[in-house]
Amino acid sequence: MTIHEVLLSLDGVEATYNHAIRALSGVSLTVRTGEIVALLGANGAGKTTALKALSGLLPAERGQIAAGSIVYDGEDATRRSPAELVRAGLVQVLEGRHCFRSLTVEDNLIVGGQVRGLDRAALRSELERIYALFPRLRERRRTPAGLTSGGEQQMTAIGRALMARPRLLVLDEPSMGLAPLVVEGIFAALKRLNREEGLSILVAEQNSTVALRHADRASVLETGRTVLDGSAADLRERDDIKAFYLGFGVGSSTAAATTPTAA
């Protein structure tokens, strides 16, 4: 596996919600082709916001990019619609398992593959690929996704994104709610795709142990700002940094750090 040119880069991105609540105030990060990058940070650091910003979903949350640039595959990503980005291979798994609740698990997956306009046979084999990764989903494929268990929903959401055969997969807390074996399974599978197909991955995780174990590099956010950027191996070693980025709750003492300041 070779690491090529820059696939995605964020530079000095600032973002607000509702033109008022500042959520990002200087996020920079890069993902090169074939790389796995972890985005770490405490609760409210801005991971989700950064990921939404780069996949064009911020406007749908009434958020705005106030400054900075986001370049995906050599083009300005802020000018492209989310659908265009997906077609260009940038697919995101949203935080909090946004499944299509009334669609069955299988229909969820099919919708995920729709951008590719597959024929029946190809669709079948793609589905099989996902079911091989998440056997649990095969058993539940006729159940409306909204009724399945939390973990099953999470698998559905990840599977749905994989159906689009992304070049850059953006994952927001994929391990949340998943059994340890499944988490390992997912990361192993992603790693395989990364190795075999050059899939690049950007993953925001609280579960930093898992994330760092699999990532090549990591960026750390704190209160909407990139504060650290380095190789995952380094970060794994350094306890001081761990203590630094893991954050400490939002007691009165650190309230200022986690309460966004008004613009």
Binding site: N43, G96, M155, L181, Q206, R213, V250, G251, T258
Partner: protein, 279 residues
């Protein structure tokens, strides 16, 4: 695979050890999908009991049965000396049971303080008119509720976001607010469905402390679903393991850690655990 029960279930009806919670031969299925099949187990007062198992094993369904959101097809639930075929959700709070949800279930439009204070709703005696007019009894009640809520905010380090609408908070903090809402009523039985999902290690450690404190200080019995095995092993007195709706193991953390059936179904190879999220 036969259910491995490390201890016979004591039915509160005839047994000598009164349990805070017992489920007796509970089965539940959804049109062909068996979510729970013939589950029986009891939780002793003051115990921290974890429920673990693969995704879709039926853990949340079990809590939903206990809190009356699902009606079991068969079996009974014992809560504080009462036995129910279907637990009446409306009376849950009065029975001293509170819970959190796997997917956030906060009142997004209410401030954090009001969310937590809402946990005391079942205690309110004053009528609407008394509240509107501001009769002394109503005022006192209200002030007490707020005082209690403030206490919990401080306890869970949430006072910094006291007045923020809960919906605008980051995920991890919302989870904590939900815990505060469940704790504020000082429940006898607290049901937690993945309270630590989406938290950092430090936060998990904090929260574990709080949960333990709740048990130690208030004597609350706790049933906890959690996927972070490190947390589970560290925190719980006993662990029940579900797989495909069946109870495949029930025992102390040590029992469970080394149970080959459990390792197979859930934990994976032992070394993963060591390298995992130990606290």
């Amino acid at each position: 695979m036969p259910a491995v029960l490390s201890e016979p279930v004591v039915s509160p009806a005839n047994g000598n050890v009164p349990s805070a919670l017992a489920v007796e031969a509970v089965s539940l299925s959804f049109g062909g999908v068996t979510a729970l099949s013939d589950i029986s187990f009891a939780v002793a007062p003051g115990e921290i009991r974890a429920v673990i198992g693969p995704n879709g094993a039926g853990k949340s369904s079990l809590l939903n049965v206990v809190s009356g959101l699902y009606q079991p097809d068969r079996g009974r639930v014992w809560l504080g000396g009462h036995s129910f075929a279907a637990v009446p959700t409306d009376r849950l709070a009065k029975l001293g049971v509170s819970r959190t949800f796997q997917n956030l279930a906060l009142f997004k439009g209410l401030s954090v303080l009001d969310n937590v204070a809402a946990g005391l709703s079942h205690r309110l005696r004053a009528g609407v008119l008394a509240q509107v007019i501001g009769l002394p009894a109503a005022r006192r009640e209200r002030a007490e509720a707020h005082a209690r809520a403030e206490e919990l905010l401080a306890f869970l380090h949430l006072d910094g976001v006291r007045d923020r609408p809960a919906g605008t908070l980051p995920y991890g903090i919302q989870k904590r607010v939900e815990l505060a809402r469940a704790l504020v009523a000082r429940p006898r039985l607290l049901l937690l469905d993945e309270p630590m999902a989406g938290m950092t290690l430090t936060e998990k450690r904090d929260l574990s402390g709080h949960i333990r404190a709740a048990r130690d200080d208030l004597g609350t019995t706790i049933v906890l679903i959690e996927h972070d095995v490190g947390v589970v092993m560290d925190l719980s007195d006993r662990i029940a393991v579900l797989d495909y709706g069946r109870l495949i193991a029930d025992g102390t953390p040590d029992d469970i850690r080394n149970d080959p059936v459990v390792i197979d179904a859930y934990l994976g190879v032992a070394h993963d655990l060591e390298a995992g999220e130990g606290i």
